[in-house]
Symmetry: C2
Subunit: 120 residues, 2 copies
C-alpha cells in the first residue's frame, strides 16, 4: 500500500474519520488524505500543529517524564489525534467530535508503528 | 466537599491516578492534590502546562474549529489529561501511562462541570 492508501484506509476505518497526514516537525506534509467536503483547512491545520507539536515536545523535555508519544486535542467540533513516529515525523488523524475516539487511537498507534519502519 | 477533597476523590477513583490540579491560565494553581511518592515535580508541571495550554488555545483559535475542550498528552511514563473549566481555569489529572485513561477522561469531564458551576 502506498502512503496515501494507508492514510485513506486509516481515515475510512474510524467512524467519523475526516483526514490523516504524515508530517515532519518542520511543517512539511509527506502525504495526506482528506475526505471530500471536510469542514476545515487541512493545510493551515498541518502548519499550526507542527508548530504546536514542537512546543509540546519542548515542554515534555523540560518535565523529563519520558519522550512524547501521543497528543489529543479536542474542540466542540473536531478532535485532532497525534502519534509520534520518530524524532522527525508524526502521524495526525482528524475525526469529528462525536467520532470513534477509542478506535482512532488504536488504529493510529498501529499505523504509526508501520510508518516508523518505513521512515527510519 | 472542599476543592481539595474533590481532587483527592478524583485522583483516587481513577486507576493509576497520581495528581489533580485546578489551575488558571496565569499559571497559578487554585488547589491541588498529589499522591505521596509520585515520581514528578507537580509545581514545574503546573507552570509548564499553563504556558502550553495558552499556546494550544491560541492554535485552536486560529483554526476556528470551535473552542478548546480537552487536551491529552502522553509520554512513556505519564499521561496528562486537561479539561477546560471556563475561559480562566482548567482541570488537570495526571495518571500513570498504564492508568485507566477512559475512566480518567469520564470523571475529569464530570468534575470540570462541577468546578464550572463553582468557579463562575
Amino acid at each position: 500500500m502506498s502512503y496515501k492508501e494507508s492514510l485513506k484506509a486509516l481515515t475510512e476505518s474510524v467512524g467519523g474519520g475526516l483526514a490523516a497526514v504524515v508530517m515532519g516537525y518542520d511543517g512539511i506534509a509527506i502525504e495526506e488524505f482528506l475526505l471530500e467536503k471536510t469542514p476545515f483547512d487541512l493545510q493551515l491545520l498541518t502548519v499550526e500543529y507542527s508548530n504546536l507539536l514542537r512546543d509540546i515536545r519542548k515542554t515534555v523535555e523540560i518535565l523529563e517524564n519520558g519522550g512524547m508519544k501521543e497528543v489529543s486535542i479536542a474542540t466542540d467540533r473536531l478532535r485532532v489525534l497525534v502519534r509520534v513516529i520518530n524524532s522527525e515525523f508524526f502521524l495526525v488523524l482528524v475525526i469529528a467530535a462525536d467520532g470513534n475516539y477509542g478506535k482512532g487511537r488504536y488504529l493510529l498507534a498501529q499505523e504509526a508503528l508501520k510508518f516508523r519502519d518505513e521512515l527510519s
